[in-house]
Amino acid sequence: MHGIDEETWLAFLDGEAAPGVEGHLRWCVECAETVEQLRALRGTLLAEARRLRDAAGISEARMEQMLDACLEQLACDREWTPQQATYLLRSLLEPFCGAGAAKTITELTIRKSASQGFDPAGWRLFVGNLSRNVESICGIATGRLIARAGFSLSVGSA
């Protein structure tokens, strides 16, 4: 978003120093407002979680379980941007063929498929092409894995 990659945004929101983001927020009203809203939401959620835990006396393990379920639900319901979804598929591929090969295969597929754009139909085409390219190097099993994961992701426009 606005020339800043998602990882940097996430790191900044987690409290890490990100001079690029801080500089951007000084002049970008839209992003500054979004960050404010996210911080407020985070504060409310933390306060609410504290209140619930204190009231119900929930154990740490149970809390962890609830958090997992919550994150899972968020992941199911959310709509991924093409960049996020591509990053997820690349990460899935890395343990099998290495980060360098995963990057090369993904970029090659993006070059082949980008003309279609990344609407849902374009995403399906991209996943199909990526799966085929992965198959040619890592085999059908890995290609099938990429296809299953890719088609399970709900991807919206960037």
Binding site: L10, D68, L71, E72, L74, A75, C76, Y87, L88, S91, L92, E94, P95, F96, C97, G98, A99, G100, A101, A102, T104, I105, L108, N133, E135, S136, I137, C138, G139, I140, A141, T142, R144, L145, R148, A149, S152, L153
Partner: protein, 295 residues
């Protein structure tokens, strides 16, 4: 054990160590038979060790080959690899027969073993070249560094050296002229797969850490070790008992490192199949897990 790849991995390394030790003892006995006569069986049975290794590699090759689309270059590469392993088993069994009954078999008949040896190496080189072209098709392995060129030069330099010693090789006095030619070409046939394996090693560095990467690196190590063992064995020092032991130890270990390389590639198929099955059963849970692991 095949359902527990970790245990299989450990077992293969143990076999590799045992193969190196038994090969070493066999090599020592070859030059010093009177010092330790009890080591004789290690020499006479030494060819059964790589035969077992290549039989196991052949088994893994079936699964790996089936994991590639019918018209792909990788499938062709693994078909050649499979054929190469099959010929290697055959070749080592013949070698074992030749050593075990060397006094009762016609040496010219034994010298025919050069045919499966050459076929094994040609198929292996073809397989590695097909693999390399699969990687270059996606843009990997097209650029080499100075260190790679040095590796290529060192490997190629072994050829004229070993070639100069071919008259001392086992079948160089065969009465079949074509066997003598095949034998004289053996340094080139051994160096060729090692050279291509070095190119695959460069690709493994471009790929980054992953299961396929380990497979390629082990393949390169195995083939370079095999060439090194031939180089040491052919040189004058190869007649010294300890160097002779080192030669056969490296040779025996290289076969099991080769199995490790194929096994790693087999593991990739198994791991991907298991994970794909998990994605089929519960894709949302798996995606949540993946996105959480990236946070």
């Amino acid at each position: 054990m095949l359902h527990r790849p970790e245990a299989m991995n450990r077992a293969l390394w143990v076999f590799c160590a045992l193969a190196a030790i038994s090969g070493g003892m066999g090599g020592f006995w070859l030059r010093q038979p009177n010092v330790a006569p009890w080591m004789a069986p290690f020499y006479t049975t030494r060819n059964l060790v790589p035969a077992a290794a290549y039989a196991l590699a052949l088994f893994f090759c079936f699964t790996v080959k089936a994991d590639y689309p019918a018209d792909s270059r990788m499938r062709f590469a693994w078909s050649l690899m499979q054929a190469s392993c099959a010929f290697a088993v055959f070749r080592y069994l013949i070698d074992w027969i030749a050593v075990r009954w060397k006094d009762s078999i016609d040496p010219d008949l034994i010298s025919l073993r050069q045919i499966p040896i050459a076929v094994t190496l040609i198929l292996l080189t073809g397989s590695l070249v097909a693999m390399w072209t699969s990687f270059t098709a996606i843009g990997l392995g097209t650029r080499f560094r100075k260190l790679d060129l040095l590796g290529f030069a060192a490997t190629a330099a072994c050829v004229p050296f070993v070639f100069s010693l071919w008259e001392g090789m086992a079948d160089s006095r065969s009465s079949y002229a074509f066997i003598r030619y095949v034998q004289s070409a053996s340094p080139i046939l051994l160096a060729a797969p090692a050279l291509v394996a070095l190119a695959l090693h460069r690709i493994s560095h471009e790929m980054g850490e992953g299961t396929l990467t380990y497979s390629l690196r082990l393949l390169a190590v195995s083939l370079v070790l095999r060439l090194a063992s031939l180089w040491i064995g052919s040189s004058a020092v190869g007649r010294e008992p300890y160097y002779s032991a080192l030669t056969l130890a490296l040779n025996s270990a290289s076969a099991w490192i080769f199995v490790q390389a194929i096994f790693k590639r087999w593991c990739l198929t198994v791991q991907a199949s298991n994970l794909a099955e998990r994605y089929r059963r519960d894709p949302n849970h798996e995606i949540a897990e993946l996105s959480r692991s990236l946070r």
